[in-house]
């Protein structure tokens, strides 16, 4: 964690462009994961691997906004939403940033859809209610996410 968030380094690629990293205002370090952009479409179990449809900076911006808004479940996972653009190649409009197991690990994230990827991609009740309260989603969309229809 950075002690002084104001001096967070700017997000950047490493020299060979193989990964992207940045630090949020609260000091959380973030690294983009290549499998959520390139490579195989399906995992070994035949389940689709979520792929970002937005560029690296937009992915990082989603993380920073999620961190800033504290769209966070009890398990520590952060969740993001963008109502203006599609985040994933399969039409996902929400994203998930699983809480790292170790505090020193980097965060990462991927576009989320309970319909495509299952229950693990369903935002928790507290986050959904925040989004409804803030006018980001309707009650109908909340219900559809809760029923894994989106």
């Amino acid at each position: 964690m950075n002690e002084n968030p104001k001096e967070s380094p700017l997000p950047r690629f490493n020299p060979d462009m193989s990964y992207f990293c940045g630090t949020s205002d609260s000091g959380k370090s973030y690294t983009g994961i290549d499998k959520h952009r390139n490579g195989q479409k399906f995992d070994a179990a035949g389940k689709p691997i979520a792929k970002w449809a937005v560029e690296h900076m937009a992915e990082f911006a989603e993380f920073c906004r999620s961190d800033l808004e504290v769209w966070q479940g009890d398990d520590g996972d952060l969740w993001g939403i963008n109502i203006e653009r599609t985040l994933g190649v399969d039409g996902e409009f929400i994203c998930k940033f699983p809480c790292p197991e170790n505090e020193t690990d980097h965060w990462h994230g991927y576009p989320a859809s309970p319909k495509i990827h299952g229950t693990k991609d369903r935002p928790p009740k507290s986050v959904l209610n925040r989004w409804v309260h803030d006018g980001l989603i309707s009650t109908g969309t909340k219900k559809k996410l809760n029923r894994s229809k989106l």
Partner: protein, 464 residues
């Protein structure tokens, strides 16, 4: 096809029609019971010339879909009188608050959940799938004002869908599995309810396929759990309770293979009994019927004994949208047909061409009525019948329900949106003009007209 829409303003989560009552769940978890016959009476009082249409549309919706009704209106004079009554009935009432008698309302304080995700009523028991688990409420419907007998919490698992038939209830809990209570009425309602047992690893919704259960592991992936009858003390629907096996048969693969659709090209599939509604990623819509190979066998349980009997792809003659465009604004014209309008002349072969009815949005839910299918996408709700689409709602719905299993409400749709509840009754007015009905049915289902004049002659006959 004629739609009659009534609107009840309010903040609701869900609604259900059962035994002449409208049951509505509010966002504050208050359950309200309204009197549908009282509603029809009030509408009749306000518009006497519309009688008996309010009763046929909203109190007992079954009669207008029966063969008796078709026979009844065969006589021209009766058909004219009935058409007059339906014509006098307003096609939309935007606030029925004062027309809909409230029978009672129940505060469900013990009902600890954030949101009702699905509900159904079966054998006077309301099952509620919620984000905090499954609940059931037992009612006494024997009196005009229903009474709550008991409320039970059945599970703590986030439950996204529930269905009930043949004495069993099945609860879909996503990656937490499919949970079923077989013989849910074998104990008396005063006793502790039957326990739920897990039957499949994943489930987003279920529906019955005669005595077997179709479990949807995803919205495009149905699998069949074969069921067998067994003796029971609590016999429902004239049958013993069904006991489900453990083997999952990929019925979706059978349907897609026979219909010539790649499994990975299916966007959405749902069944009503043995009829599958299929929507492909390219927007095509199919109605696929699966029947026993041996038709004499009424209740075979082995999936291998079944085959696809009928595949119907929704399509219309290319000329139909063009020629109906000016007269029938409700018909949603496919894009390619829309291009025929304006200054562009009708192509010579338009009467030989057929256009697939296309629905490009991803489908969120579907439900059958006796005269068509209700399709919900994220931003609208539409009614698909054999001539095209009708708009039910042009914005997002919270809940869409049809009542094909009910005796009285087979042609009714309940749609809850952010502002209230739409109660929609669908009437196939073609029955009042059999000649035109035959012509239009032919237009929609395969007769190719060889000339513009024969087409227009037929078309004119449809206008009452």
């Amino acid at each position: 096809m004629k739609l009659f829409k009534l609107f009840l303003p309010g903040e609701f989560e869900d609604a259900f029609l059962y035994k002449e009552r409208l049951l509505v769940m509010t966002v504050d978890k208050e359950l309200r019971a309204y009197d549908l016959e009282g509603l029809a009476r009030r509408l009749a009082e306000k518009s006497p010339s519309s009688v008996p249409a309010p009763y046929w549309l909203f109190a007992r919706n079954d009669f207008i879909g029966t063969n008796q009704f078709r026979k009844f209106v065969e006589a021209d004079a009766i058909a004219k009188a009935v058409a007059g009554a339906f014509g006098a009935m307003p096609s939309m009432l935007d606030d029925i608050t004062h027309d809909l008698p409230l029978l009672d309302q129940f505060r469900l304080d013990a009902f600890d959940c954030d949101m009702v995700l699905d509900l159904t009523i079966y054998n006077d028991r309301m099952y509620l799938a919620t984000d905090e688990g499954l609940f059931h409420i037992d009612f006494d419907f024997s009196r005009k004002v229903p009474k709550i007998l008991a409320l039970h919490k059945r599970s703590d698992i986030h439950s996204m869908a529930v269905s009930a038939k043949y004495g069993s209830v099945s609860v879909s809990c996503g990656d937490d599995g499919l949970w079923i209570a077989e013989g849910d009425f074998e104990q008396s309602k005063e006793e502790r309810p039957t326990s739920l047992a897990v039957k499949a690893e994943r489930s987003v919704m279920t529906n019955w396929w005669t005595q077997s259960l179709v479990n949807y592991e995803a919205y495009n992936s149905p699998k069949l759990l074969a069921g067998e009858r067994r003796r029971s003390s609590a016999s429902l629907e004239g049958l013993s309770v069904v006991e489900l096996g453990k083997t999952l048969f990929p019925i979706g693969a059978l349907v897609s293979e026979k219909a010539g659709i790649e499994t990975n090209q299916i966007d959405y599939i749902f069944n009503f009994s043995k009829k599958f509604f299929v929507h492909s990623i390219d927007g095509s819509i199919y109605d696929i019927e699966v029947l026993d190979k041996d038709k004499k066998r009424q209740r075979s349980v082995e999936p291998s004994e079944h085959e696809v009997q009928r595949v119907y792809k929704f399509e219309v003659p290319a000329a139909l949208p063009y020629l109906l465009g000016a007269q029938d604004k409700e018909l949603v014209r496919p894009k390619s047909a829309r291009e025929l309008t304006g200054d562009t002349p009708l192509p010579k072969d338009a009467f030989g061409q057929r256009l697939s009815l296309s629905f490009k949005d991803s489908i969120v839910s579907s439900g059958h009525t006796r005269v068509g299918t209700v399709i919900e996408s994220r931003q609208r709700v539409q009614f698909l019948h054999d001539e095209g689409f009708l708009d039910l709602l042009n914005h997002e719905a919270i809940t869409v329900r049809t009542f094909m299993q009910s005796k009285f409400y087979g042609n009714m749709v309940a749609v809850v949106d952010e502002d209230g509840l739409w109660l929609i009754s669908v009437f196939d007015e073609r029955v009042l003009n059999p000649t035109a009905a035959i012509a239009r049915r032919r237009l929609g289902q395969g007769t190719v007209f060889t000339s513009t004049s024969s087409f227009l002659t037929t078309l004119k006959q449809k206008t009452v």
